[in-house]
Amino acid sequence: MLQPQLISFLIEPDHSDKAVSLFPVLPVGKHEGICFGEEGAEDSDASPFPFVPQTFRLSKEDELFEDGDIQRHLYLQDAEADYASDVDRPKISEFKCHIAGCCQLFDSLEEYEHHYNSLHRNVCSHCKRSFPSAHLLDIHLSEWHDSLFQILSEKQLMYQCLVEGCAVKFKTYNDRKDHLIKVHSYPADFRFGKPNKSKSKNRGKTPVQREAPMELSEPDQAQTSELMILEPMETSTHETNIITSTTEKRTLQMEQNKPHYSYKVPTTICFGKGSVRGFHGRKKK
């Protein structure tokens, strides 16, 4: 993997041009204070970065020498050829979600990014639910956390279509749901509901299903419909869902809201071929 010129640099017999002194030495200088003017200079006293280059003297027993010592042992025992193969293979570092309380581990950057973008990126600061996109988060914020929304929705069309680019608005969430099914070909069993940490802000749900399309929580039978504004007829399994006034509903839902992160992805959502359905990448150290 070394470039050819480096290989010939090492191999060529003529060493006269290899002396380090022949390479220009870049000027050594200070870092902070250069970019940030005087302010920066003051800041540099308080810089929380303690790195100082250091040399390491290692003793015979140091962990860094372990694999080499094992090889030495095998060599002396004439066993090296037998044991060479899978003793010391390189291993890719695991990635970790650093959000406190999350701490999941991932084998690849893609898995981590998928996790982060799905769970932590578009998070409602009020109720801590996360959404798969900024667009849905915006809609959620306006419909759930804007006190004017319910008032205005009595007079005008306030429920936006969830599909980005579609500017149509509706009087009720069921109208929107119908629109999504009829016009945008969403499946009738698409999870329009939105329980605690749901992704989608769709309200309403089909009676027998669990709540929340794209929710980020494990649907808990007892509490799924807490945050759902439901049509009275749809509350067969969830008595707590029978809420007549929207404000009451909202209050009840907010009270019952217990943000927590669980990571089940409903079957109706597909994140592309080969992606995991749930977050099976979860590993404990």
């Binding site: 070394l2 290692l58 030495r72 066993a79 090296e80 570092s93 695991e94 970790k96 982060y116």
Partner: protein, 499 residues
């Protein structure tokens, strides 16, 4: 002579068991070795058997009874040809661990054996030496140490005339020295050092190699005392070791391996590295590493086991550059050493990643306090080689990050050059790794690069990097949170015009 080429692959003898079984046993064995090392109980003895002997061992599964052992033992008391034949039978029997136990417990067996060993019959002496070798190779301390009464004779015979016999004695001594500190002290008192010095000057390659082995065992023991190391340093042994570490020497790779490990144990002990420096240890290690770097790059079919020679040399150079940095680097004013070290990283990475780790450690020690070598790294474009290894765990990415931080720390000019190699992109990925040390070093490097540039530093960091920094603000480790926030604050702060 390259011993590894002569030994048949043990896998062939075990073809009756399944591959899975074999792999499982191998893994278990490796785990046991690692545990032993952690407990400082790893005793690495040379196991020497020729091909025919190994086949005989595997074929013979019957254990020897006390009566049978006694019978064989009695036959040793006879004279003439029968004695030699009896000794040969005993030697064969001693290859079995259980038989070793039986014989050693026989009344005066060892005493008689030592008597034969120190006797005047050369053929019997040789056979007795083989018996002692079998006992000394045992991993049961009680069995190996049964040979202790033979040590004064072993040492005396080192100045003898028979190379084969001398080689045997050296191997026995090495195996005994590996056992415990008391043995090593005894050997020192009995004059092992001058004897070894003599053997290292032998014209016979096998003798020199065995002497190197014996010395390595004297030095590497768990409690190898300062006194032992000092005694060795004050003798002519170091100069012989350095003389033998010559790429063009005829002593063979086996010898060079033993000498390199001896040197490593001497340097590691840190008793008097100045003395070793004065004798040219750093110069010798670096010139040999340069040669080996060339071998590794030039020749696809390098001898199997070259890593066993390169590793101790790396360790010597690494530790000498830590204890005598400036002096050491004065010998290294040849840009090729940096290339050689990178060559080892690249070449051995897949199969022996410990070699990559050790090479990177040496690179860290060389670049920590030397702007010249850092500049050379940049000019030789070694940074783009090193970035490739950032994803890899087991200490690899930590060392690469340290190396990059060493270079970046030298100043903004260095940071600019690093940044031209698209290091930032790679570092944005390391920010989200699980190892906290990797995260800490990534933040350090990021800060140095970001704070060195007068351009809008936020543009230096891609979207993934920014989201990684944002995520780090919620990390459970306070230091990490503070540093991530500090970087974010500064990159989004309005910048005053640069002077």
């Amino acid at each position: 002579m390259w011993r590894l080429e002569c030994v048949p692959h043990k896998l062939q003898r075990q073809c009756s068991s399944s591959l899975e079984d074999f792999k499982h046993k191998r893994r278990e064995y490796e785990k046991a070795l690692r545990k032993a090392r952690k407990d400082q109980q790893l005793i690495s003895k040379r196991l020497i058997r020729d091909i025919l002997e190994q086949e005989e061992v595997s074929g013979n599964s019957e254990s020897l009874s006390k009566e049978q052992a006694d019978e064989l033992f009695q036959r040793i008391h006879h004279s003439g040809a029968e004695k030699v034949i009896a000794l040969r039978s005993v030697r064969k029997a001693l290859r079995q661990k259980e038989a070793q136990q039986v014989f050693v417990r026989l009344n005066s067996f060892v005493h008689v054996l030592v008597g034969v060993f120190s006797g005047s019959n050369a053929a019997c002496q040789l056979e007795a030496a083989y018996c002692l070798l079998e006992l000394s190779q045992s991993d049961e301390a009680s069995i190996a140490l049964a040979c202790l009464p033979a040590t004064p004779y072993l040492l005396t015979f080192l100045s003898g005339q028979s190379p084969k016999f001398t080689e045997l004695c050296l191997n026995i001594l090495g195996n005994l020295a590996a056992e415990k500190q008391a043995v090593r002290k005894q050997l020192l008192a009995q004059g092992v050092i001058p004897s070894l010095a003599l053997c290292l000057q032998s014209p016979h390659v096998a003798v020199v190699e065995a002497a190197g082995y014996a010395l390595s065992q004297l030095l590497q023991g768990k409690e190898s005392s300062e006194a032992t190391v000092r005694a060795v340093l004050e003798s002519s042994l170091p100069s012989h070791l350095l003389r033998l570490l010559e790429g063009t020497s005829t002593s063979g790779i086996g010898t060079m391996i033993e000498c390199a490990w001896c040197l490593h144990y001497l340097v590691c002990s840190n008793v008097d590295n100045g003395l070793l420096m004065a004798q040219g240890a750093a110069a010798k290690c670096s010139s040999l590493l340069l040669e080996l770097g060339g071998v590794v790059l030039k020749d696809p079919a390098i001898p199997q086991g070259l890593q066993l020679l390169i590793s101790p040399l790396l360790r010597c150079l690494g530790n000498l550059s830590a204890s005598h940095g400036q002096e050491c680097r004065a010998y290294l004013k040849d840009g090729r050493i940096l290339v050689a070290l990178c060559a080892f990283v690249c070449h051995f990475f897949q199969q022996y990643s410990f070699m990559a780790r050790e090479s990177l450690w040496v690179l860290n020690n060389l670049t920590a306090e030397d702007a010249e070598l850092c500049s050379t790294c940049i000019h030789l474009n070694l940074i783009s080689v090193l970035i490739y290894y950032l994803p890899f765990a087991k200490g690899i990415n930590v060392m690469v990050l340290r190396l990059l931080c060493n270079i970046a720390e030298k100043g903004p000019e260095y940071c600019k050059k690093i940044n031209q190699q698209e290091v930032l992109q790679a570092v944005c990925a390391t920010l989200i790794m699980a190892d906290p040390e990797v995260v800490q070093l990534s933040l350090e490097l990021l800060w140095m690069i970001v704070s060195s540039s007068c351009q809008v530093s936020s543009s230096l960091i891609n979207k993934e990097g920014l989201s990684a920094l944002e995520a780090l603000q919620y990390n459970k480790d306070k230091e990490i949170r503070v540093r991530a926030a500090y970087i974010l604050d500064h990159i989004f702060k309005p910048v005053s015009p640069c002077i």
